[in-house]
């Protein structure tokens, strides 16, 4: 507790605005009871350390995250997902400082898997990236508020985003594990189907990929490869990590083809590329175009596992999405089992 204000709800909300403690939207004013319930929802002690970022002298304590989760509108049972996501952000492989502070303005994409995702009602279907589901909206918001308030990631200070993107308010969805052509993401990344998990991933853009004619994987995946290799892509110069979110009709094309996850990944490694000449003409590489540059390819992915594939979205419609990762693998997606220490 740090100050007092009038008990009128609107005045309380204004008091949080005045102190710069919100993301620009009204917050739910916490009480002793709601903060205690939020901590209890994840079985956390107030002083429990969820993670540290040594280079920023940041120590993330559970009570502060719980306050931010209340502010965001979370129910107590969401807190274990929020805590796992924060642990993921603090994991050394995520290398928080870059994606959090870069001019690239990454959203922290949270992908929730496992029985808890279904039990808590996270949306994995229609409008999975959009509005309308409290778990998706508030868990993503809680993590961003914790970044701002606890991890010193404030716009203009240690958040230097040139433009940012709307996903910086909240970007959280569940994987559709029921209609999946393969095993879900957390299982592909080493956890068991009975575990619940959240994967944190930094991406500064989202492109929707459309193809209504492709009935086989190859033409469909060529669209993904093209979207992941456009000349404006920040990481076109070096090896990257990328997230594909495959929705209903496209997932069905992949399932019916019998292609494995590894086949899809390998195809994309092979086809996501640009000619050196194209990159030089666009000043994405320095130097004059030499004759050999016309036939020399630069590949964007080093290996199949650099491409994360998730299923989500509605069954109808020929839409999927690709989300290029921030940095040349300077940050890597991290998957944290919910309720367990990393």
């Amino acid at each position: 507790m740090s100050a007092t204000a009038e008990p009128d709800p609107a005045s309380l909300i204004e008091a949080y605005f005045e102190r710069g403690w919100t993301d620009g939207l009204p917050v739910v004013p916490p009480t002793e009871k709601s903060v205690a319930e939020m901590l209890a929802g994840a079985g956390l002690r107030r002083d429990e350390i969820l993670g540290e970022i040594p280079g920023r002298n940041t120590v993330v304590v559970a009570e502060k995250v719980a306050i931010n989760a209340v502010l965001a509108g979370c129910r107590p049972e969401y807190m274990s997902v929020v805590a796992a996501a924060v642990r993921g952000l603090c994991h050394p492989d995520f290398a928080y400082h870059g994606p959090a502070s870069s001019t690239g303005g990454s959203a922290m994409v949270l992908i929730v898997n496992g029985p808890l995702a279904r039990r808590l009602g996270f949306n994995s279907g229609n409008n999975a990236f959009g509005q309308g589901w409290r778990p998706n909206a508030t868990v993503g918001r809680a993590v961003r508020l914790a970044m701002m308030n606890v991890m010193q990631t404030r716009p203009g200070l240690l958040d230097r985003a040139a433009l940012g993107n709307p996903g910086k308010y909240s970007f959280c969805f569940a994987e559709n594990e029921d209609d999946h052509p393969w095993e879900p993401l957390h299982v592909a990344r080493g956890l068991s189907p009975g575990q619940s998990a959240v994967t944190v991933y930094a991406s500064n853009s989202l492109y929707q990929v459309y193809n209504q004619l492709a009935a086989e994987p190859e033409p469909l995946l060529r669209c993904f490869a093209d979207a992941l290799s456009n000349l404006g892509l920040p990481n076109v110069k070096g090896f990257n990590q990328a997230l594909l979110v495959v929705a209903g009709e496209h997932a069905e094309v992949l399932r019916q083809s019998g292609w494995s996850r590894r086949q899809v990944q390998s195809f994309l490694v092979e086809h996501t590329r640009r000619r050196v000449a194209d990159l030089k003409r666009a000043a994405r590489l320095p130097g004059e175009v030499a004759p050999a540059d016309e036939t020399t390819w630069r590949y964007l992915f080093e290996k199949p596992d650099d491409i994360l594939i998730v299923c989500a979205g509605g069954r109808a419609g020929s839409w999927s999405a690709c989300l290029p990762g921030w940095g040349n693998k300077w940050t890597k997606a991290v998957t944290i089992a919910i309720g367990e220490m990393p």
Partner: protein, 94 residues
């Protein structure tokens, strides 16, 4: 009657840092460079070192390369810089 506000913020954890004494003269100092892998970071740092060499007779004792701009300088590199150089220049931003 008033209602409490719950402060959602946390300040960075303070840690004690001992600042190295400033050198009495710039002449002949050994430069350490920390290159953060940003495009042209190495070129810029080496050009800076070259100018310092011309003006003050400095030499580059060591240039270390970070794993990425997002990562910290590893302890072994810090130890080597501490032993081999008199001061360090690190860069660069966007």
């Amino acid at each position: 009657m008033s209602s409490p506000l719950f402060d959602p913020t946390a300040a960075p954890v303070g840690r004690e840092v001992t600042i190295a004494p400033r050198p009495g003269s710039l002449d002949g100092l050994r430069i350490g460079l920390v290159e953060n892998t940003k495009f042209n970071s190495d070129k810029l740092l080496l050009r800076l070192a070259e100018r310092l060499g011309r003006r003050h007779g400095m030499t580059v004792a060591r240039m270390v390369r970070k794993r990425s701009p997002s990562h910290e300088v590893d302890e072994a590199a810090i130890d080597a810089l501490r032993r081999q150089s008199d001061f360090v220049v690190s860069g660069i931003g966007d």
